[in-house]
């Protein structure tokens, strides 16, 4: 099997599994308990918090554990909105291609009286600091812009955006779910006020994430209950998952440079190979790009059939077609970069990690053109384009 869907989830690293096992065997107490067993769990919890903080240039008190990236996004945005509303600020800036955890939260806030401005992301899928600067108003409560896009791999100019927000005194949140462990993060130098993390995107366990919030930013509770996480997130901490997350992030950050260099080579081979398929196009920024992310649209075919046939050949990938999203519309990200519905249906995302090899790339580059060719051959839409009855878009 060739796993090329690391943007969906990753295989847990050995370091992460070992950390979890150790914790489950030895430190299985409740960190809120007074006796030694509980206190050892508390120590494991706090040392994991410290490890994660170090990886992103934060201090441990600024890290709150959540159930994952979505909860972290929800909590960051809700907290900033509440804070803004108290000062009469009800304007929020974000982008059109954020993750649904951000967009759906913003939609709810809109219904609650906030004004949400989604910046257009252009054909390459990015925004500039200047766009952000021009959108900031007196009543802007928050700027929430992702570090890297999960579907098309664009890496956004987060440091520049952070600098603009700091200068204008506006809170800046970034969803760094796809970036953490793959790109350097330094919340201080990058002027990031809040940042969302998800463990399973960097070879950690599922169901655990974290929210960084700069000291002094009060977080609003999404879950009421006990005083865990210093009153910011109730519920007994998932200590083994937290330990697994810390080990995974530490491991990913320790090898970030070598992994990124290796994976980028494979990525570029894939991009070069797939570009040879006629009437295809790379999605996302070709230069400022996640090391492992490859996203293409192939005209005249539909993504789900492509995925099923690749699965038959042992290749795990994903698509932004409507049929794979379970809705009638294709991916909002592909629509946001201006791909027409028809073209967006024929999308393929391959996301690599350091476990992938050149042999994987060769196999993918053999399979994808064959499958695309086969599907085009049975596609009346493709035939109409070839015969000139309909125009090619790509």
């Amino acid at each position: 099997m060739i796993y090329a869907d690391n943007a969906a989830t990753t295989k847990m690293s050995g370091a992460s599994i070992n950390a979890m096992l150790r914790c489950m065997e030895k430190n299985w107490g409740n960190p809120s308990s007074l006796y030694g067993l509980g206190q050892r769990a508390k120590e494991a919890l706090e040392s994991a918090r410290e490890q994660i903080a170090v990886c992103i240039g934060a201090s441990s008190r600024e890290i709150t554990f959540t159930s994952g990236g979505s909860e972290a996004d929800n909590q960051a945005i809700r907290s900033a909105a509440l804070l803004g509303a108290r000062k009469g600020k009800r304007h929020i800036i974000s982008t059109a291609f954020e993750h649904h955890a951000v967009l759906h939260t913003l939609k709810k806030l809109e219904a609650e009286g906030f004004q949400v401005e989604l910046l257009p992301v252009g054909a390459l899928g990015s925004v500039t600091a200047r766009q952000v600067e021009e959108a900031i108003r007196e009543d802007t409560a928050l700027v929430s812009i992702m570090y890297a896009n999960n579907e098309i791999g664009s890496v956004l100019p987060i440091s520049e955006i952070g600098a603009v927000c700091r200068e204008r005194g506006v809170l800046f949140h970034t969803d760094a779910v796809q970036a953490a462990g793959h790109l350097p993060i330094d919340v201080g130098a990058q002027n990031i006020d809040m940042l969302s993390l998800s463990a399973h995107k960097f070879h950690g366990p599922k169901g655990i994430g974290a929210l960084y919030a700069r000291r002094g930013i009060p977080l609003a509770n999404l879950i009421e209950g006990g005083a865990q996480e210093r009153g910011r997130r109730a519920g007994t901490e998932n200590v083994p998952a937290i330990a697994g997350m810390a080990a995974a992030l530490e491991n990913a950050c320790a090898h970030m440079e070598e992994n990124a260099a290796k994976v980028a080579v494979l990525r570029d081979l894939l991009i070069a190979g797939l570009s040879r398929i006629p009437h295809s196009a790379l999605n996302g920024d070709p230069i400022n790009r996640l090391p492992g992310s490859v996203s293409f649209c192939f005209e005249g075919i539909e993504g789900e059939s492509l995925l099923l046939l690749l699965d038959d050949r042992g290749i795990c990938a994903s698509s932004g077609s409507a049929c794979t999203s379970g809705s009638l519309d294709p991916s909002h990200v592909l629509l946001a970069i201006g791909r027409p519905h028809e073209v967006a249906h024929g999308s393929l995302r391959l996301s690599l990690c350091e476990d992938n090899t050149e042999a994987d790339v060769d196999a993918i580059l053999k399979a994808v053109p064959e499958v695309v060719g086969y599907l085009r051959n049975i596609s009346p839409l493709w035939k109409d384009k070839v015969s000139g009855k309909k125009e090619f878009i790509l």
Binding site: E302, E304, S305, L308, L328, H341, E342, H345, S379, L381
Partner: protein, 144 residues
């Protein structure tokens, strides 16, 4: 549990009757690229019977499987029987489709009806237009 039944996967992987009939007696095409499915059915009619049928489909796994199964169900059948083919029959023959994929079987039924209508039109055979409603009922077509 897999998304699709084994029968769907079989018809998707090894579609029956895929291709073109150059001298078809009736051709029907339904769906649109915006929705992500287009089905085209070619019919050869001899003595009121479907003597040959081929299809081309742009769409997801269930769209391709539905086209394949629908063509199998009408091959060798008299036209009156072909017109009685329902999307339900196509979906049942495939051992079921996920709820959000049922429209693929609707598309297969409509493509076949469109091909029969084309045959009637070409032959000057009279029919009740109500039997061939325009393809506008599909929720997928409501994308703005």
């Amino acid at each position: 549990m897999a998304l699709y039944s084994e029968t769907v996967m079989d018809h998707f992987r090894n579609p029956r009757n895929v291709g073109v009939i150059e001298d078809a007696d009736g051709v029907g095409e339904v769906g649109n690229a915006v929705c992500g499915d287009i089905m085209k059915i070619y019919l050869k009619i001899e003595g009121g019977i479907v003597s040959d049928v081929k299809f081309e489909t742009f769409g997801c796994g269930s769209a391709i499987a539905s086209s394949s199964m629908a063509t199998e169900l009408i091959k060798g059948k008299p036209l009156e029987q072909v017109l009685r083919l329902t999307n339900k029959a196509v979906a049942e023959a495939l051992d079921g489709l996920p709820a959000h994929k049922l429209h693929c079987s609707v598309l297969a039924e409509e493509a076949i009806r469109a091909a029969v209508k084309d045959y009637y039109d070409r032959q000057g055979i009279a029919y009740d237009p109500k039997e061939f409603p325009a393809c506008d009922s599909c929720e997928g077509c409501q994308i703005s």
